[in-house]
């Protein structure tokens, strides 16, 4: 999955999340067309009892746009399957309520709660937080596959800060 945030000079803003689902989709390549096919139907797994023709599978994709009453705009979204929700939520919280810069808000380590409610902390958390969460009864587990990536941009008072997540070696551009 990938996410692109764009704003133009006229004020049109686009928050786009696109996917072929898992890495290389279902690993089916069409040699006649050069297209790699998706494996989107696997998103129904354990989330539906039956499926119907024409139905779209459930998704974690959340390309969002936030407007502040002062006229500020935050165009943001992410990739990483189930991790999208936590990664984007934390980036928004970090920016809006903890007053981090957008760059720091996206770079900050995330906490992911997996489907079994185990807590997985991205590298970078203070040991005191890890210990504190364990003391509260949370099951903190090691995990190395943090595929979460958030890209976003913010426009406020004539300034645009655009940030592509370093986790995927991204970089934004503008003028």
């Amino acid at each position: 999955t990938t996410h692109v945030s764009v704003v133009d000079e006229d004020g049109l803003a686009v928050s786009a999340t696109s996917t072929i689902n898992q890495i290389f989709g279902g690993a089916v390549y069409s040699p006649r067309t050069g297209v790699i096919m998706n494996n989107e139907l696997s998103d129904f797994c354990k989330r539906a009892d039956a499926i119907s023709a024409g139905e779209q599978p459930p998704s974690s994709m959340a390309p969002v746009i936030l407007e502040s009453e002062s006229g500020g705009l935050l165009v943001i979204g992410g990739s990483g399957g189930s991790m999208i929700t936590s990664a984007v939520a934390l980036a928004i919280m970090n920016r809006l309520w903890l007053k981090m810069s957008l760059k720091d808000a996206i770079a900050a380590p995330i906490v992911y709660v997996d489907s079994e409610n185990n807590v997985k902390l991205e590298r970078g958390f203070d040991q005191s937080v890890v210990d504190g969460l364990k003391a509260l009864g949370h099951k903190v587990r090691d995990w190395k596959y943090f595929f979460n990536v958030v890209n976003g941009l913010e426009k406020e008072d004539g300034c645009i800060e655009a940030v592509s997540d370093k986790r995927k070696m991204g970089q934004a551009a503008g003028y």
Partner: protein
């Protein structure tokens, strides 16, 4: 005395104009100087190359939608593991009047699909490979709808940079290079039809310094650029695609491509204090995101929350909110299929309030407390 007056007026006007020019210059410099990055337009994509391509489209007079389409097409070459025209998207657009629309062209279930498909679902964390999982791709139909409504440059122009990249080839992108070192992914590539694209002559996955070429994709994109999305959905490209999918054991038919429709709908508006968030409705994950944020808004979180013990407390609340969100994951489904449960309650203040009262500040609970009894597997896309 009478003769000196015009001079005086001229001097005053000149002086005033000079002052105004200086003020304008100072303000401009102040704005540029105070801005962290840009002042007019920007693109944040997954790679520098694709952000640059998006910017170049904007500089040529393209709209943000034009820039996004060009950046996404580019991403299908730079990060082919992530997305491409064989997939689908969800796009939220805010026009200059502030109206916000969602364009949903996520893949759909084809007319014919494996009857017991869901019994093929893995029970552990693994990649789901195989043609039975292919949904009807909506990507190009979505670009077409977006471009028709918001495009400023020609359709073909948006494809030019990516066609060149695909045809000439690019040095293996660093992130893809790292990914192909992962044993699980390397094996998947080397033992599937992807090897035709991503392996060298020795049938091993491409690595650092190798050139990545998409010659066939370049041809496909060239035709789509010239003839439009119909070439894919009703023309020769579609027929070729269906042939390949069938040869791989899949069930897609031309009718599936022909009948694909982009869904255009209003975004859901969610208030977070003095900020309004616009989310794509289900089957997108916006409602779960909003659910977590609305719950978190109920707690006293501010710039001091990252200090000392408060930090642990804040993450505890977040984890509790995420656990309740896990219990609500099954609420997200396609609303066009009415037998499924709606997700509207996830942003309903009374529901948020009820859940908020279930979150304690000093303990957590077993999974059933969060209605997380038959959790869906974690997905990594």
């Amino acid at each position: 005395m009478a003769n000196s007056k015009p001079w005086l007026v001229c001097c005053c006007v000149l002086g005033a104009l000079t002052c105004l020019a200086l003020i304008y210059l100072c303000v401009s410099l102040l704005v540029v100087g105070r801005c962290a990055s840009f002042t007019r337009a920007a693109v944040a994509a997954d790679s520098r190359l694709c952000s640059d391509i998006g910017r170049s489209i904007l500089l040529q007079g393209g709209s943000a939608v034009d820039g996004a389409i060009a950046a996404l097409l580019c991403t299908s070459v730079v990060n082919p593991q992530s997305m491409g025209i064989g997939g689908g998207s969800i796009v939220t657009v805010r026009d200059k009047t502030g109206h916000i629309k969602v364009y949903n062209f996520r893949e759909t279930v084809p007319q014919r699909f494996k009857v017991d498909l869901l019994s093929d679902c893995p029970s552990t964390f693994t990649l789901s490979t195989g043609s039975q999982w292919i949904g009807v791709p909506g990507e190009l139909r979505g670009y077409e709808a977006l471009h028709r409504r918001y495009g400023k440059l020609s359709w073909a122009k948006l494809f030019e940079p990516t066609i060149k990249l695909a045809r000439d080839g690019i040095k293996m992108p660093p992130f893809l290079t790292e990914l192909l070192k992962e044993p699980l992914i390397k094996t998947q590539v080397e033992h599937s039809s992807l090897c035709k694209l991503l392996c060298n002559a020795n049938k091993t996955a491409l690595g650092k310094g190798d050139t990545l070429k998409f010659s066939q994709l370049a041809e496909t994109l060239e035709i789509v650029a010239q003839k439009g999305a119909d070439a894919f959905y009703t023309g020769k490209i579609g027929q070729d695609l269906i042939k390949d999918i069938k040869e791989a054991g899949g069930t897609l038919e031309m009718d599936d491509l022909r009948s694909f429709r982009v869904r255009e709908e209003n975004a859901w508006k969610v208030s977070l204090g003095n900020t309004h968030m616009y989310i794509p409705p289900p089957p997108a994950g916006g409602a779960l995101l909003a659910f977590i944020l609305k719950l978190m808004k109920e707690f006293p979180i501010n710039a001091t929350s990252m200090e000392g013990q408060q930090k642990t407390q804040m993450y505890h609340y977040f984890i509790e909110a995420a656990k309740f969100a896990n219990g609500q994951r099954r609420s997200i489904s396609d609303p066009h299929f009415s037998t499924k449960k709606s997700a509207a309650h996830l942003i309903d203040p009374s529901f948020i309030d009820r859940i908020r009262r279930k979150i304690s500040m000093n303990c957590t609970h077993e999974n059933d407390y969060y209605s997380n009894v038959a959790p869906p597997l974690d997905r990594f896309g």
